[in-house]
């Protein structure tokens, strides 16, 4: 095809003319691994964290009227 428009190969070459950037610091493996571990730790926290004593107090308060009645 010789219609003056660039060919497929020329277009591919134009799009490759500039390399994509290097990885930014927050995508470095060490940084990502710490983020992965932090998210994993947050996800595994028990529902009544930080204090199970607080949770017990909440439960006790909720049940008291029923027990008292």
């Amino acid at each position: 095809m010789n219609d003056g428009a660039p060919s497929e190969v020329e277009i591919a070459s134009l799009l490759r003319a500039e390399e994509a950037d290097a990885l930014p610091p927050r995508l470095a493996s060490g940084h990502l691994w710490r983020e992965i571990e932090a998210r994993r730790a947050r996800r595994s926290l028990p529902i009544f964290a930080p204090s199970s004593l607080d949770a017990a107090a909440v439960l006790q308060a909720a049940l008291t009227p029923a027990l008292g009645g």
């Binding site: 003056g4 277009i11 591919a12 799009l15």
Partner: protein, 181 residues
């Protein structure tokens, strides 16, 4: 065992069990291509980094999704492409009525503004998302069509015809651009 001897699937299993060395191998193989795709699709480096970070966290911390079928690279690139699309759509919805210039720029535009390469990236930005993914994976990442079909979970014939249609549209846009310069 030497973590470099692990397959990508084995590296992911080990990383999910807390093996940092295995994660580093996985990161070494996949982070570069994932970020390059995100950067080229998203335009914005910040959005690209957000997407890739979330993809890796989801990949390692979630037991769902990947089926360990030996196609991890395609799975990761698919997650990246879908996440960029979702993020851009959310930004457009939040900012509807306002011009979002950043989304229309290819990563190279700043460096090559006014050049033919800049015009090629601007023309690419006018294609729809699926066409851009195919062109970037083929032209920039130099993936063969069967692999691109894997990324998009579409038949190879569909991917090929979309690619050739997209290239034809780019040719016309670039010819029009050259006529005006």
């Amino acid at each position: 065992m030497d973590p470099h001897a692990l397959s990508e699937d084995e590296s992911l299993r080990a990383a999910r069990s807390g093996d940092r060395a295995a994660f580093e191998v996985l990161h070494g193989r996949l982070a570069g291509p994932a970020y390059a795709l995100a950067r080229r699709l998203a335009g914005s480096p910040d959005l690209a980094a957000d997407v890739v970070q979330d993809v890796f966290i989801e990949l390692v911390n979630s037991a769902r999704g990947y089926r360990f079928d030996g196609r991890l690279r395609a799975y990761v690139l698919r997650m990246v492409a879908n996440s960029v699309y979702s993020a851009q759509r959310a930004i457009r919805l939040r900012t509807s009525g306002f011009p979002v210039r950043e989304l229309d720029r290819g990563p190279e535009e700043t460096a090559v503004a006014g050049s033919t390469a800049g015009a090629a990236w601007r023309a690419l930005a006018q294609l729809d998302h699926a066409e851009r993914v195919v062109v970037i994976l083929r032209a920039c990442h130099e993936l063969p069509f069967p692999e691109i079909a894997d990324v998009l979970t579409e038949p190879e014939t569909t991917v090929k015809s979309r690619y050739h249609r997209a290239i034809e549209r780019l040719r016309r846009k670039l010819a029009a651009w050259e006529d005006t310069t």
